[in-house]
């Protein structure tokens, strides 16, 4: 049964992650000033695919454990926020609101990690890379916002 849970949580991850393909960075993002430490574009889908497998494994391990209510509720919250960032940042090109979504995502991921850890330490540990990546994404969003003050809330024209 854990494989069924894993498949469902993975489907939830890819539903949220599909926004990455639907709202691609495009010419607007390419033109923005970016910090020197910006990860290369190819790394993003590789990192997210790896993180989705970790997140789905963590969700499935918690799903088969007792007293999992808090971890399960928070897992739902973080995936809803996860799917929101890309449409806000790349769809609306609203970097300020993107940063607010990322702060909310970071808090929800950190809370999910702690709640998972209380149920099953390995499930909690599987959320560590995710929290690190969201921290990097938040620093990148903040840096791009600062380096491009005039494009902070540009209208949606390419």
């Amino acid at each position: 049964m854990i494989w069924v849970y894993f498949a469902i949580f993975l489907a939830a991850c890819f539903a949220a992650g599909s926004t990455g393909g639907l709202f691609p960075p495009g010419a607007w993002y390419k033109r923005l000033n970016k910090p020197s430490w910006t990860p290369p574009n190819w790394l993003f889908p590789v990192a997210w695919t790896t993180l989705y497998i970790c997140m789905a494994t963590a969700g499935a391990r918690a799903a088969i454990s007792p007293d999992n209510g808090l971890a399960m509720a928070l897992w739902s919250l973080q995936i809803a926020l996860n799917g929101l960032w890309t449409p806000v940042f790349f769809g609306l090109r609203n970097m300020r609101l993107g940063l607010i979504v990322l702060v909310g995502l970071w808090v929800s991921v950190a809370a999910t990690m702690v709640a998972l850890w209380m149920v099953d330490w390995l499930a909690g540990a599987l959320f560590i890379p995710y929290l690190v990546w969201v921290s990097v994404a938040g620093a990148l969003n903040l840096s791009v916002l600062r380096l491009n003050p005039d494009a902070a809330a540009a209208p949606s024209e390419s």
Copy 2:
């Protein structure tokens, strides 16, 4: 503790639902041919707010129950798909892909309803209005797609 779970599930609902405010229908949707039975615009936020309260109550009741793994995994999947429809339909103005997302959402909501019912009958019953509303939304999406063949995948210009 059930109130904490309720608040977290409700926050997940509003994270998904915030796409409704971020990607409003606008002039493009107003110009489309719509069936005579299209619900008035004001009904959508009223219906969704009511549904979110039902969905969060259902999630919280399942979260405090034993053997909730399948219901909790499916609750996560349906909220991830729920937040995807609006950016696809109103953001990308892709009615075909919107319909595909809605079919996936309908299946996931029906599956969540059954899984919730097996854990707690009231939690399952609280998903009935949601399934009805997603059925109406699916019929509306299909109808608008058929009535506007030329606007089926219009580019994102207002």
